[in-house]
């Protein structure tokens, strides 16, 4: 019998340029949760024991390391914890291996990311607790702001490109100082 070895999407060492730092992040399991029409109450009931609520667009609900992040109409990603049984209230899929996560932090993080993401990511416009779907260059991403900085979810197959593009932005922002 083979021993299947799990491999992370990225094994890069953390990167620091100027006032910005980038790390590969390990998020644990990711499960997509998609409400069926009219199932808001039923889903809320399942989420309640977890200390979570279904997030409004562009936001997230968090309880300790577990967060439920809005990712689309009637759809959210449960990150960092095992999914409960939703029965007929919501469809779930395992998305764990499909996404790679990058943490981008430091005083220049927003400035760096605004080279690649066409949104106002500055603290007053994009405070902790915000979570949006947005393009990073030509790549589809989930952009989450928490106290520690930004968490970027990107398709696993493209994460090397995302790393390279953010690194390039980090370098050019740092070179201006």
């Amino acid at each position: 019998m083979p021993e299947l070895i799990a491999k992370p999407a990225l094994d890069h060492a953390p990167l620091i340029h100027g006032a910005c730092r980038m790390d590969p992040a390990e998020l644990g399991p990711i499960t997509s949760v998609a409400l069926y029409p009219g199932q808001e109450k039923a889903v809320a009931k399942v989420l309640k024991p977890l200390g979570l609520s279904f997030p409004a667009p562009n936001s997230l609900s968090a309880n300790g390391p577990v967060q439920l992040v809005w990712t689309g109409r009637d759809q959210a990603f449960l990150i960092g914890g095992e999914a409960p049984e939703f029965g007929t209230a919501a469809a779930t899929t395992d998305q764990s291996g499909g996404w790679a996560a990058l943490r981008v932090s430091g005083d220049a993080a927003a400035e760096v990311l605004m080279r690649q993401i066409p949104l106002d990511l500055r603290a007053q416009a994009f405070p902790p607790g915000r979570a949006v779907r947005a393009p990073l260059g030509h790549m589809s991403a989930v952009v989450i702001r928490d106290e520690a900085g930004f968490l970027i979810l990107i398709f696993r197959s493209m994460v090397r490109t995302a790393w390279h593009e953010i690194e390039t932005a980090m370098r050019s922002v740092a070179a201006r100082v």
Binding site: P57, R73, V132, R133
Partner: protein
């Protein structure tokens, strides 16, 4: 140009894929006849002024939007989710 996505907020038009007139929302029944189908797929008004057309928020929430805008002034009056319309039973 910025399109006000009802879910994601105002976003640059590069995040969207254009499709065409909102005529596409009204699919004829299979037996509606050639003229109705031809009209549905091919015949379009080309208004100078207000128009409703369909945009897909591909780089965002993956929703189809019905955008109300003006082809002359380029003003965008608003956008609604196609999925949020009333009476969309097939």
């Amino acid at each position: 140009m910025r399109i006000p996505c009802p879910l994601c907020g105002p976003r640059d038009r590069r995040e969207f894929t254009y499709y065409g007139s909102d005529d596409y929302l009204n699919r004829p029944s299979p037996d509606a006849g050639e003229a109705a189908w031809d009209d549905h797929l091919h015949l379009r008004a080309n208004p100078a002024g207000e128009t409703h057309d369909l945009w897909y928020h591909e780089a965002g929430c993956a929703q189809w939007l019905r955008v109300h805008r003006n082809t002359v002034s380029h003003e965008i009056y608003g956008a609604e989710l196609v999925a949020g319309r009333k009476g969309d039973a097939q």
